[in-house]
Symmetry: C2
């Protein structure tokens, strides 16, 4: 399993609209093959900062499958305008748990 | 529930030693009151980068309880020398799930 990770800097004042748009848009990503789970979390110390964690079966389910899909165009249109700067998206694999 | 989040930049060449030390040290944090879970993940794109995600019942379980404990001195001694630069640690609360 692979975790997609991004720290999202949302334009100040647009936080509530972002959360509402994410609630609508999450069905787009959740329907993509290989999708396992999504969590969006809000930062306590800096409330315009959010954390995106998406679990995928395989790296390619995100990088090729979802990003190459028509649904990704809708995801991008719904969400990307909230971010400034545009986030760095990376992938992680679990090495230690407790 | 609160997620403690940090991106850990480990000194290149010290990644395996870091993972081994984390395996040893995780019992220190797991025994702390309010601890829920820990995940350490390794970055696919940049293998010296790790993600630390610790779930706590309450913010204070981390910021006051664990950080104020004798166990934290041992945690710091076991792990902090692997990081360059020292990580930014922040806390998040879930707002959207799928």
């Amino acid at each position: 399993m692979i975790t997609e990770h991004a720290v999202l800097e949302v334009v100040p004042g647009r936080e509530d609209a972002f959360v509402e748009s994410m609630e609508q848009a999450k069905a787009l990503i959740a329907a993509s093959p290989g999708f396992v789970s999504l969590r969006v979390e809000r930062c306590v110390e800096r409330p315009s900062r959010f954390l995106l964690l998406v679990e995928w079966d395989r790296l390619e389910d995100h990088t090729e499958g979802f990003r190459g899909s028509a649904a990704y165009d809708d995801w991008r249109a719904a969400l990307h305008h909230f971010y400034d700067p545009f986030p760095v998206v990376e992938h992680f694999e679990t090495v230690v748990t407790a």
